[in-house]
Amino acid sequence: MKKNKIPGIFRKKYTSKTLNKKIIKRLHIPKDREMVKKLFKENSDGKMEIIQDIPKEVLIRLKPLAKSIKKNKGMVSRWKASILIFIVAAVLVFNIFFKDRLVKNAVESGLESVFNADVEINRLKLSLIKGTISYHSLVIADAENTSRNLLETGPSEFRVNIAELLSKRIRIEEMSLTEFRWDTQREVDGALPGTSPDEQESDDGKTGGTLDFLSVGRDDIDFKALLEEQKDNLISLNLINQGNEEIDAAADKWKNTYTEKNKEIEILSEDVASLKSISIKDTGSIAEGQLALQQITDLYSRVTETKADLVSLQDDFAADRKHLMEMNKLVETSVDEDISRLSSMINFSSGGGRSLASSAAEKYIRNRWNDYYEYGLKALKVYERIQDRKQEESEEKKGLRRDAGRVFIFPGSDNPVFLIEHILISGGDDNSGTLFAEIQSVSSEPDKLSEPLLFTADWKSNLSGISLNGFVDMRSEVESQFEMEILSPENFISLDNGVPSLKIEKLSSMTDLSGFSVLSDEQDGVLTTLSISMKDIDIEQADEDGFVSSIMKEILDDMDQVDFEVEILAVREGLEDIKVSSNIDDILVERMGEYFKEIADDKEEELKTELLNYIAPSLEENKALQSSMATLGVESLDQISSVDGMQNVLDAKQNEIQSDMKSGVQDEASKLLEQATDKIKLPGF
């Protein structure tokens, strides 16, 4: 059997003071303290020593007490410190070996939440000592068209200022993006799991524009599509449909009313027929005659009442019908109104050729500008999504049930919380053209910077090129928030579809383009003015000897260059307005005005025919309903006429009975007179 030994701590000899300090004070259960106190006795040396004769149950208790005393020493727990050191070491080791993967995943998921599409980063490397993040390639899918990439870059490097990072500020000194490309094809779908592609703008950003039939060519206008698109706005169609609904409702109402009246008339008719069979000629009873007369009078009053009802109903019916007929008359005038409105949408007003060349240019510019506009809009959406994310994050923090509190800013470095000093972008190739762009001072706190966000971009290909220079100034109290200069000299442009209305099958020229974009506060959009000069215009014509072709050739031979002045207003909803004027317009009007007026008239007539065809089914329905209303009108007259007939019958019957009664009374009087004469003997006779 194992022998219980006294723990070492109790075997030592203590002075009274040290015993109290090292043993007694470290016992916190009063009962234990008293027990241990009793175990120590002062020895001959004056020291406190544990007694040798200790009961077994007390001896067993001493072991855990010794442990408690040891445990109750000191302030810091070694094992806890060891755990903390181990955790810190593990985190550091894990970061050293896995930081690249961690950062890659964090960046990918962050960008995916901003762009709402698949993001891939290859070979990302983070160097905390150097303060650089680099990757071999980055591909961001287009959320609106997941089979294509919004952008992709090749090897890129971000230089981060670590000192700023320690002060809770992100300062990227240089972002260098190479092999930058956009709108490239993807091999795999770029949609994120559980998301559907963003809804496409149904109007393609062309809501506000008008179609010019001359610029798009005679056969290009799809009247049917136009009518379908404008279906809800067609006054004539709406009026007919509304009329049809009202006629339908009225026809139902009157049909029911006349059915009810028919039943009433049938009952009356039966009553009249039964009265018709009454005859007092044979009996000659006056009493019977009076009864029959009373019945006739009662029935007559019912018939008269019914007739009055029918006449009143007929008046109401006529009023309803008149109202519906008036609506039908309105349809005729509304067709003209629709034609006029649709014509203004298709811009027949330029039928005189007043803005012919401008309109042709407008179509071309609209197509080109729409691409730039869509990219601008995508950038805006990304910016807004970043803002939304910030909002969501702060709401998520609120979700932890703690208030956000107020943040007090103290003077410190004037650097903003987020700053990218330089972004250098290069990309493209010899085929598609090369791109160089530089963006400076992208910041979350623009007021802390001495300069606005500056950007320059140059894109050059074999046939054309464009340079953009400008700034975005989000600082408070600045005169202009956005300005951009556009320069694009010596561009070769080619209109492969030509200008059909001018009998031009193909057109090419060298074009100089320059312009300026500013923020339009009044219209809440970006206003761009462009000057375009077309030189060395080369045209291909199918019928060179035709009237229009020969005039066009003469005009272009006489002119050195054709100039256009363009004003484009892009708003959030799309390209709001494009105004184009040209020096060739007046010349075309002078030379070919009559010709184009004829075309415009023809087109207007064609539109009218299409509109009438479009509303024809509704008109047919309208006619059918009108016809059913007319039938109801006839029925109404029939009913009145049948009631009239009843009145006549009753009149005749009344006369007949009265006459019978009269003759019956006379016969009776004669008989009584004879009887009286026989009985009374007059003197002298």
């Binding site: 234990d32 442990k67 806890k80 000192a163 703690r402 208030d403 509190g405």
Partner: protein, 175 residues
């Protein structure tokens, strides 16, 4: 959770220092007052974790106080705001603000500052209150409670019996 409660009961009834329990509870209270997710909270947690006190008491009190501490956020906001806006402390806070890494402590947030100030002010009262409470418990109630009929009856409830077995296991391990 049961393990934490068991550890707390063991500590209450063992020879551990009352100050260890009280300090655990006071640190739990301080950590509950300061909103998490910042360097200040992490530093205080690391200090609290390293000190020799009852971790179970710290986690339990932190969980308990956190469950309703948001009610006091407006008060913490006001207290923090008073300190942060104080002209006397302006230079001090400005210096702090410009020390690397310290901005990650979010000390310039009114609720963080309010929680820190109120937590420090109340740390000692909470500490002494619980030291006193533990001593009183051990002196007057521990043995009575252990032997009361109510406790004996309640020990038969399944969840309590599970807790009791945890306590017994820990008591064997504990000194």
């Amino acid at each position: 959770m049961i393990s934490f409660i068991a550890k707390l009961i063991v500590a209450l009834n063992s020879n551990s220092r009352p100050s260890e329990l009280a300090s655990g509870i006071a640190f739990g209270f301080l950590l509950a007052l300061i909103p998490g997710g910042n360097l200040l909270w992490i530093v205080i947690f690391v200090i609290a974790f390293s000190l020799k006190h009852n971790i179970a008491a710290m986690f339990l009190s932190m969980g308990l106080f956190r469950s309703f501490i948001s009610v006091f956020d407006p008060l913490l906001d006001r207290i923090g705001g008073i300190f942060l806006a104080s002209p006397l402390l302006y230079d001090f806070f400005t210096a702090l603000y410009n020390i690397p890494l310290l901005p990650y402590s979010n000390f310039n947030n009114s609720i963080v500052m309010g929680g820190l100030v109120l937590g420090i002010i109340l740390w000692l009262p909470v500490f002494f209150l619980f030291v006193f409470a533990v001593k009183i418990y051990r002196k007057r109630f521990a043995s009575r409670i252990a032997e009361s009929k109510f406790v004996k009856a309640i020990k038969k409830v399944p969840i309590i019996s599970k807790l009791t077995s945890s306590v017994q296991k820990l008591s064997v391990l504990a000194p």
